[in-house]
């Protein structure tokens, strides 16, 4: 059985992941709380070495459910979806957290797990519940979209056209 202390050591990282995943002050801590409660219910089924990816997986799932619920609500209210406008130049940090908004949820997950939370490809793939190749494809799209949103010109590279980006194949660049 997993120790409570082991779960608690994950909380700061979970909060960071949730904050970046949901956007600022947008219910991130509620998702973390729901994740912790779910973890407490299921903990006895998990081995210590899989605890971390399991907990991150739970948070990822809960966030997806929430995003879907919000999307449905937005449709019902006939509000425009996310505009995906590039962030106005503020501090570079503000800019990047706003730029995250242009990413699809799946792309954001892949990017944040690898870059922010330091999981390797295999672990990240387990967390998102997809094959490694899918994880890598999403990561690649996320980085290209982020660069575009931040005004770094990716068009100097034909390999990164929007069309190809959405195709999500691994491409030869040479």
């Amino acid at each position: 059985m997993t120790s409570r202390e082991a779960i608690e050591t994950l909380t700061p990282g979970l909060r960071r992941y949730a904050r970046a995943l949901t956007g600022h002050g947008n219910g991130a801590d509620e998702i973390v709380q729901a994740t912790l409660m779910r973890t407490l219910e299921e903990e006895r089924r998990w081995r210590d070495d899989e605890l971390k990816t399991r907990v991150y997986g739970t948070l990822t799932q809960l966030n997806r459910q929430r995003q879907r619920a919000q999307a449905v609500r937005r449709q019902g209210e006939a509000l425009p979806g996310r505009a995906g406008a590039p962030a106005k130049a503020g501090s570079r940090r503000e800019a990047i957290s706003k730029a995250l908004d242009v990413l699809a949820t799946e792309e954001r997950e892949a990017l944040l797990l690898v870059v922010l939370e330091g999981f390797n490809y295999q672990e990240s793939a387990e967390i998102i519940g997809a094959p490694k190749a899918t994880l890598v494809a999403r990561l690649m799209r996320a980085r290209a979209a982020l660069a575009a949103a931040q005004g770094v010109d990716p068009r100097s590279r034909p390999a990164l056209s929007a069309q190809q980006r959405s195709a999500g194949h691994l491409r030869v660049v040479k």
Binding site: L40, V114, R143, A147, V152, V172, V173, K174
Partner: protein, 284 residues
């Protein structure tokens, strides 16, 4: 083209950045990047993204975890909601008891330290410490914390512990007086403490003065002084055990003060009383 076999792909560039390639492949990608500045620039762009992302959210992981996320809470709620599952209740109780035991141990330790330092001082200063144990920590405590931070920062600084040295005491006095409204550089020569110097620092309400003194043994103590705004409530003198250093703080004639450092209890008594006397003498 890379001679037909195993060309470097965009996925390779990502794997290179994310350290997901073996040493052989890594060398090949590195070589590729040297020859293709556009691809190298791309990797640099991603690397900059990584740094910006980590920088933007590093703070979150350092924030204290809110109480609502403490595991004690959801667990207690669950235990109450599912009374039949006694195993979970037992677990909850065991966890809580463990936590209580730890907290008690910490409290006991902290108490011991307090007893060994602050409380001894309290006993030695019955006139100054008007049995204020129950009063919640407020301005005085914040000032003591502030003084402790300054002490940690400046007291052992080898390059520049003070901004203005004791040799320019008159200048130091003018500066502190001009910025803080306190026309006093306390003197503790009778306690065997030599002025090292001081500086104007941020205080709780405005500018404050922080002065360093040194014993013959090289031990230093810090004195923090800040003029209290007129509307702030009067707070009696108290002692607080710092991390390793004890501090005394209080308010006298509209001046918040704190002394911090490691002195024997007798010394604390003399130094504190002496400081209070000097503040009283300097105030109109």
């Amino acid at each position: 083209m890379s001679k037909g076999q195993d060309p470097v792909t965009e996925a390779d560039l990502h794997a290179f950045l994310d350290e997901e390639v073996g040493p052989e492949r890594r060398a090949k990608v590195a070589e590729h990047l040297e020859q293709k500045p556009l691809d190298a620039a791309l990797v640099d762009t991603w690397r900059a993204q990584n740094e910006a992302l980590r920088g933007a959210f590093a703070r979150v992981a350092r924030e204290p975890v809110p109480l609502s996320l403490s595991l004690a809470q959801p667990l207690t709620v669950r235990a109450a909601a599912v009374p039949i599952n006694t195993r979970r209740l037992d677990l909850a109780r065991a966890a809580r008891q463990r936590r209580v035991a730890i907290v008690s141990a910490i409290a006991f330790l902290a108490g011991s330290i307090a007893a060994a330092t602050g409380a001894i001082v309290v006993q030695h200063l019955p006139g100054l410490f008007r049995s204020e144990a129950g009063i919640p920590a407020t301005i005085g405590r914040r000032i003591a914390t502030r003084a402790a931070a300054m002490y940690r920062t400046f007291a052992n600084d080898r390059t520049r512990p003070v901004e203005v040295a004791a040799a320019q005491k008159a200048e130091l006095g003018r500066w502190v007086s001009e910025r803080t409204g306190l026309s006093l550089i306390p003197d503790f020569a009778s306690e065997g403490l030599r002025l090292v110097g001081g500086r104007v620092t941020p205080g709780e309400f405005g500018a404050a003065g922080f002065l360093l003194y040194e014993m013959a043994t090289g031990e230093r103590i810090g004195v923090f002084m800040e003029r209290a705004p007129d509307d702030s409530s009067i707070e009696p003198l108290r002692a607080t055990p710092g991390d390793r250093n004890t501090s005394l703080y209080g308010r006298e004639k509209g001046t918040y003060w704190a002394i911090i450092g490691s002195l024997g209890d007798e010394r604390w008594k003399q130094v504190a009383q002496h400081l209070i006397n000097q503040i009283q003498a300097a105030s109109p």
